[in-house]
């Protein structure tokens, strides 16, 4: 199955391991991710505070490119996903805005189906097919699934399985032979948007998430977003976790899937994680 794909800027640099593992795992599952032609940055969380027309137009240019190619678009980054869905919703529900943005971009707006990579894998590949690709069972590896904010809220426009306690990722981990743990921080905010500006706030929010993961005995935190990954990884060192508590490796969900598919760690970019995933790799054997 070939599918249009919007990776987002982070996957070209700071989140290369996400790009590598997403492509490799999808290939294994029979999905070919085809990047849409010449996409641009969606503006992330930054442009909407400066110029609302521009923040719509930047996202809409990507919608335009995607809709010219296909009826469907898969997105790897939670923030990009949120922007694409929010802007599509604004354009389809507000005729005046639609006209304005269509004029700027010379774009005949039409709605397309936009989903997160996790959603694509759970819904369209399905647990059964995922299970068939498993070569190395995770041997009860204890994981927590951290979704963050932007792939579950607002639930009116983002159709996840549950905005407070989504379970698709846990279900995938179970199929891989791991043990997903209860995790009340699943959809709490890590403060990623404030990482460069109000770091103390981000640190306090991240601390709550990492502390719960530690208390529950997680051997691995799974994420679906490059901004969450960056925030949790870089702030791990700053969190006071007690003298003997090891740092918990933070993996993209595609990296863990790849390991259980028997794919070589390097192909999954595991050498690029800032917190060594050695313990996870060794526990799977």
């Amino acid at each position: 199955m070939e599918i249009s794909y919007y990776p987002g800027c982070s996957l070209e640099s700071s989140a290369k391991e996400y790009q590598l593992s997403a492509e490799t795992v999808c290939e294994q599952l029979g999905i070919e991710l085809v990047e849409i032609e010449d996409w641009n940055c969606c503006g992330a969380l930054e442009v909407s505070s400066l110029n609302s027309t521009l923040s719509l137009a930047l996202v809409a240019r990507n919608l335009k490119i995607a809709s010219e190619r296909s009826d469907k678009l898969v997105v790897a980054c939670n923030a990009c996903l949120n922007n694409l869905l929010a802007v599509q919703h604004k354009l389809s529900s507000n005729g005046e805005l639609k006209q304005k943005i269509s004029g700027i971009l010379n774009y005949e707006f039409r709605e397309i189906e936009i989903k997160h990579l996790l959603d694509l894998i759970w819904n369209e590949v399905g647990l059964e097919n995922i299970g068939e690709s498993v070569k190395k069972e995770l041997k009860g590896l204890k994981t927590v699934s951290y979704y963050g904010c932007l792939s579950v809220r607002p639930s009116k426009i983002i159709k996840s399985d549950d905005p407070d306690n989504p379970t698709h990722l846990d279900e995938i981990v179970s199929i891989l032979g791991g043990e997903p743990l209860e995790f009340t921080s699943k959809t709490k905010c890590c403060g990623g948007g404030l990482l460069m500006t109000y770091r103390d706030t981000a640190l306090k929010l991240t601390e709550q998430i990492l502390t719960e993961a530690g208390q529950r005995g997680a051997q691995c935190i799974l994420v679906t977003c490059p901004l969450c990954h960056m925030t949790l990884e870089t702030l791990t060192n700053k969190v006071k976790t007690g003298p003997n508590r090891p740092k918990i490796p933070i993996l993209y969900f595609t990296q863990l899937m790849g390991l259980s598919f028997g794919i070589e760690p390097k192909k999954l970019g595991l050498h690029k994680n800032l917190i060594s995933p050695e313990a996870v790799i060794n526990s799977i054997g």
């Binding site: 800027c9 640099s13 971009l105 905010c189 500006t197 109000y198």
Partner: protein
């Protein structure tokens, strides 16, 4: 309380039309629907760790017409955009979008010289936007080095220098920007969107 100081509201200083100004901005449309239940504030993660930040208070200030005071208040730049308020508000006020409308109005007032924007977020956002305008995609290394230099904080600089080095060794930093092919077209979109 902003920075711990409560004071009497001076009716003479209020601008009763301010709420209409906010509701004309994209994202600000529903501000007048607020019935002051405060769920935005009790569910806000930033509020939990920083008590200078109070979504309900910000909404009240807008509705009372405390224009200058709220637009020059640093707290409007502290939202982490987690959208919990937007999810839970029973009146669909969409506070996370209201805050964007307020920031946009603050930028306009600052351009006129009527207020001064406080805190680092505006600077970060501006450098981020410039990076997209120059390349089409964000050039992380360029963006961060520019921002860190402008912040002029040695401790901050050092902590990012060591992180930057670590990421460079891991091959996670691109040294050159990726310029999109249709950069001219995109730059025209920037221009047309600013009119």
């Amino acid at each position: 309380m902003v920075n711990g100081e409560a004071r009497t509201i001076d009716l003479e200083e209020l601008d009763p039309s301010f709420k209409y100004e906010v509701s004309k901005e994209i994202g600000g449309q529903n501000i007048k629907l607020c019935f002051n239940c405060g769920i935005c504030t009790v569910s806000c993660p930033v509020r939990r760790v920083d008590d200078t930040y109070n979504p309900r208070r910000i909404i009240r200030m807008v509705l009372y017409g405390m224009k200058k005071e709220i637009l020059s208040d640093e707290t409007i730049w502290k939202c982490a955009h987690c959208l919990t308020c937007l999810e839970r508000c029973p009146q669909d006020v969409r506070f996370a979008e209201v805050i964007e409308a307020l920031r946009i109005l603050a930028v306009k007032e600052a351009e006129k010289g009527d207020i001064k924007i406080k805190g680092p977020q505006f600077r970060f956002d501006s450098i981020f936007k410039d990076s997209i305008e120059s390349h089409g995609r964000v050039f992380e290394a360029g963006l961060l080095s520019k921002y860190i230099l402008k912040r002029k904080d040695l401790g901050f600089m050092m902590s990012f220098a060591s992180l930057g080095l670590k990421m460079f060794r891991k091959g996670k930093i691109s040294l050159f920007p990726h310029k999109i092919k249709a950069l001219n077209e995109l730059q025209r979109v920037f221009k047309d969107s600013s009119q």
